[in-house]
């Protein structure tokens, strides 16, 4: 039977504690969780019936719950949902082979939380304002063309679109700059994704020390109060899903 992997964690000399904890948590489809340990790190896994290639959303939530429960007690790296291994031996092999990478990443996230910040705007309203600003540039764009044909009309339309996009991005860059400045003191590791949908202008994740949580929330709250036209959604604390960079070859 295949094994599904949930997380890689620092177990150190807390083996007994881990075993106790695992006996109190249920895996996907009420399966038993077990751990495979090498030196000071362990992989948490459970059985997974291999013929179920397509699985339900509920499984993913079960999976997340296990990771969440483990994260309350151990420093861990969440493993992407759906990672199956053929046998405990295969898991053990991975642990040994990639021990250094796992250890390095674990140390990076030790005593830290992940937070997620999504910033929304009203696309119709805000883009209208930006469009007004780029109108004078649009006048310039028209000068690029000497002929007047369907083709140049099309290109002109495209150029205006592209310029408008750049202006939007610039706007978002400004906000990112502002957020970075405001949070500089907390020194988080961050990742920003711009314009992920027309309305979500920013999808950011932060990794920072656990004790800075309240200060962080306050800082975001302050930012929020300075931007009436933007909606802020801050969630967390999460296990460090976004801050593991291991791709095995």
């Amino acid at each position: 039977m295949d094994k599904i992997i949930y997380a890689i964690l620092i177990s150190n000399d807390r083996q007994d504690e881990l075993t106790r904890l695992l006996s109190g948590i249920r895996g996907i489809s009420d399966s038993n969780l077990f751990n495979i340990t090498y030196n000071d790190i362990s992989v948490v896994a459970s059985d997974f019936s291999s013929n179920k290639i397509i699985v339900d959303k509920e499984f993913a939530i079960d999976y997340a719950r296990v990771i969440e429960d483990l994260a309350q007690h151990f420093t861990l790296l969440p493993v992407r949902f759906g990672t199956l291994m053929e046998s405990p031996d295969a898991i053990n092999e991975i642990l040994i082979k990639y021990y250094d990478e796992f250890k390095q990443n674990l140390q990076k996230v030790e005593n830290k939380y992940e937070f997620s910040l999504k910033v929304l705007w009203d696309y119709e309203k805000c883009s209208g304002k930006i469009r007004l600003k780029t109108e004078s540039e649009d006048q310039n764009a028209a000068k690029l063309f000497h002929n007047n044909s369907v083709s140049t009309e099309y290109l002109l339309k495209k150029i205006k679109e592209h310029r408008f996009e750049s202006a939007l991005l610039e706007h978002v860059e400004q906000l990112i700059g502002e957020i970075s400045t405001r949070l500089a003191q907390l020194n988080p590791i961050h990742k920003f994704q711009k314009m992920v949908t027309p309305n979500i202008i920013l999808d950011a994740v932060f990794l920072l020390e656990k004790h800075k949580k309240d200060e962080f929330i306050q800082a975001i709250d302050h930012l929020k109060s300075q931007h009436d036209d933007l909606n802020f959604l801050l969630t967390g604390p999460w296990p460090p899903y976004n801050f593991v960079e291991i791709t095995l070859k």
């Binding site: 969440p78 992407r80 990672t83 199956l84 969630t235």
Partner: protein, 71 residues
């Protein structure tokens, strides 16, 4: 109304969880597996994001079997 608000905030929590569990975390295989009729055919680098045929709306997920690709 009150109940509705609670429901929706739970929705967000679940959406955020799914986003993490499905798309983030340690990737034990460096590739996306494209399979046809359950036969794995093509592996693409993880950086090349392709949308899924089975979308979340259908509440279905596909799993990859990294054990086959790891030497």
């Amino acid at each position: 109304m009150q109940e509705n608000v609670i429901d929706q905030s739970k929705d967000i929590t679940i959406l955020e969880i799914l986003d993490r569990v499905l798309n983030k975390g340690v990737v034990l295989t460096g590739d996306i597996v494209i399979s046809v009729a359950d036969i794995d055919l093509v592996y693409l680098g993880v950086k090349l994001l392709l949308s899924s045929v089975e979308t979340m709306q259908k509440n279905k997920l596909n799993t990859v079997k990294p054990s086959l690709q790891i030497k």
